[in-house]
Symmetry: C2
Amino acid sequence: MYRLLYPMRTYLIVTGRDDEVNVMAADWVTVLSFKPEIVGVAVSPKRYTHGLIKKYGEYVISVPSVQMLRDVWIAGTESGPEKLRKMNITLTPSKTIKTPSISEALANIECKVIDYRDYGDHTLFVGRVTGYTYNPEAFKNGEPVPSAGFLAHIARNKFITFKDEILTI
Amino acid sequence: MYRLLYPMRTYLIVTGRDDEVNVMAADWVTVLSFKPEIVGVAVSPKRYTHGLIKKYGEYVISVPSVQMLRDVWIAGTESGPEKLRKMNITLTPSKTIKTPSISEALANIECKVIDYRDYGDHTLFVGRVTGYTYNPEAFKNGEPVPSAGFLAHIARNKFITFKDEILTI
């Protein structure tokens, strides 16, 4: 039961360029390698995003905040680039790839696809991290600040964020 | 910067069997497919766990609670099966594989390896979910209960859990 791994963090995947930019919500994101930095995202072939990643070989993993919950919901439930007109996000040029980043996001991780593999009903897109930007209020000394409002997904339309209290051992 | 994806959920990976059981902490875990249910975990070849997964072709993803933070810390910082003697966990038979589950965990997901790929300094072990168990206080109606104390990792010895408040849209 995959839901036993939940709550999982929710991210936004930005793909395409120019007038063909799309934004999808995705929970199935992970780090795959520390050095070099490699990350992966699993995307259904039914998603518009899937075709755009295959076409351009790059994507941005954007980190939404609780303030962007409505945008995450639209990105996760509607299909195709038209949904961008309903969202309150500002696209901004990325540093190392042509796929744009999202200004309001807590961070944007720019990735070039180095491999992809079909597993069951999804494709894992494996990306080398080529650049990044972040909000210095959300990440200090290279560590996330709990109160920044990082989003996690419980199920359907239910989301959650973290307590302020840091547990140390 | 992989840390921009943090906080990430922390899990325990159980491997081996009989007197060669090992438990490792891992943040780099994700779902890869909904139908069939496939999950993945990235493990460094330096870890004892890596050899055990290759040897037996199966693993359990265990979901620790905040009450298990000390065990998570030992599992993440010490190497080899000897650390189990320092941990306060109870191994219990799994339903579908010979690798045991952890009684105290909020859930245990039993996986058989169907593929593995080296990416950078880690290996992604792709597992078909063959069985699972869970604590009914932590998962109700197939959804995680926020107050169950799911653990997430910030950095080094800093962990965090979720707020009780569910955000709906």
